[in-house]
Amino acid sequence: MINTVLVANRGEIACRILRACNEAGLNSIAIYAPNDAGTLFTELASRSVRLEGETIADTYLNQQQILAIAVEYGADAIHPGFGFLSERADFAQAVIDAGINWIGPAPQAIEMMGDKMTARMTMKAAGVPVIPGEEIDSDDEAEMVAAIVESSQRVGYPLLLKASSGGGGKGMRKVEDPDELVEAIMSARREAITAFGDGRVYVERLLTGSKHVEIQILADKHGRTIHLGERECSVQRRHQKVFEESPCPVMTEGLRSRMGEAAVLAAKAVDYVGAGTVEFLLAANGEFFFLEMNTRIQVEHPVTEMVTGVDLVREQLRIAAGEPMSCGELMMRGHSIEVRLYAEDASNNFLPAIGPLAIFRAPQGPGIRLDTGVREGDLVTPNYDPMLAKLIVWAPSRSEALQRMRRALDEFVVLGTTTNIRFLRELCDNRDVVSGRTDTMLIERVWPDGWHPDYEETTLDAALMAAAISESAGLHRAVVAQAGIESGPTSPFQTLNRRYP
């Protein structure tokens, strides 16, 4: 049994989990850093508790403070979401030691999968295929550089350097030219030390032209481990996904069951419990290789929910409470696509952007789901990840899902902060995206000199006219006044005072 869930996260994923708790009739506790006061997720919990401190280390990464709040307010489960403490085995252990349910796998499983070199070795031993490459067993800078340089001659170019503690593209470097190797090692090591406090880096062959395909896993404490089909997340920039879909356009029943079996094998090799994802690279010839296992809920989990009808977060809550998972025989239905809306300048190397969300109007209509933690009027700050929202569509077929996504992105209005909305919209028109020939190099291949928005002169003319009308009419003041109490005939405050005969 679980009664009260503390959500040790913020923003979009905290909203997702808190809403699942509300639906399940569970009490919930949100924790928030002072600079998150008043944001959406703090309003969705039964109780919101302010964290002391200013930096991320003092707040969302502060294990002692979070545990103290859980104990003080009687939480009997902690959901870590993704990022932050979600893959910290020491935190999972501390939660369990405090007599609180950890909504995730056992600390041992997190540890084995969290260290990428250990995971590679575990998977090799379990008979799951891994990418050609070599583990580097040294943390000393000079030794490590020498070992990687030597190993690079066996692995071959192009190669990929990866931080053993890496994630989200951090500490990862593509190297095409042996002359660039040493500088790339130093850069990857620096970034890994800053981001993870662990500078160990290893080498894998860069498999060009391959797809990133991952299998969703659910395992309960009653011995049942199942897979829920795949997600394809090939389209990435800076090694971060921007466009995800299920099913994968080139998937066959046979390949799905082979990859699904390998994923279940991987999960069982570490006695996995809860929701997890096994990531693979799928080569053009149908061969697939283990990349890593994410021992948590994933950003792109909604596309699996849309095609399987399974509520993954509700299942996480059930499994943590010791109940069997509720889903029976699965059937994948239709097609789902997710795009990630980032505050970033797609026309300038995808640099993160900040600013106010002066207007934030999300699309509506059939088959559309928006997972977000922001609202109109919020500020996008450099304090946290620049992901603003996930826009998810479902439709009976892939081509209809793409049509729906185009329509939804055209309707999406975000003003005041630079976003990648237009980039995502043009991505949906790209020939290779339309035909499903997506691979991990797609963005670099399609826009080798960077992306720039393409529009008709007449569209700019209309926009200039809108700016001129807005300026001449003092429209910004009109918009502000409308949000106030003394505004025009649609104000709810006037309706409240109206008397009807």
Binding site: S187, N349, P352, R361, P382, L464, A467, A468
Partner: protein, 153 residues
Amino acid sequence: MQNEFKVGGEKVEVTVAKNDEIWSLGEYSGRIVGDGRILITAADGQARFAHSAKVGDTWWVHFDGHIFCIEKTEPGSTDNDSDGGMVAPMPGKILDVKIANGDNVAAGQLLLIMEAMKMEHRIVAPSDGVIKQVNFAVGDQVQQGDVLVEMSE
């Protein structure tokens, strides 16, 4: 009414006329609706809504799925954007400086590496030129908008 704007680095003068509640510009006509959106009708009769919001001096306009940043400028103001300074895109820390004062650089050449949001960002030369001034050293904290490097072409 006459307005001066800058969009994509170029100055534009836009004059709109108002007759009752209808604004016009060439073959377009526009009308502000109750919630602050602007209904723009083209010559062929097709009507679409524009959204606008002003942040600082810049109008952000959404029209037909496109977003434009249109800066309001004062009539007669001088254009001083071409000083070739490379500006910090966000607050962060300088990790590496690859050039020194007086260096000749080629377009696309790596000048600085900075860290922001726990990611490394590469600041590259926008064009061929000579480095006039490097304003920061390794380890320095920079604020958004700080000029990192000044270059002459």
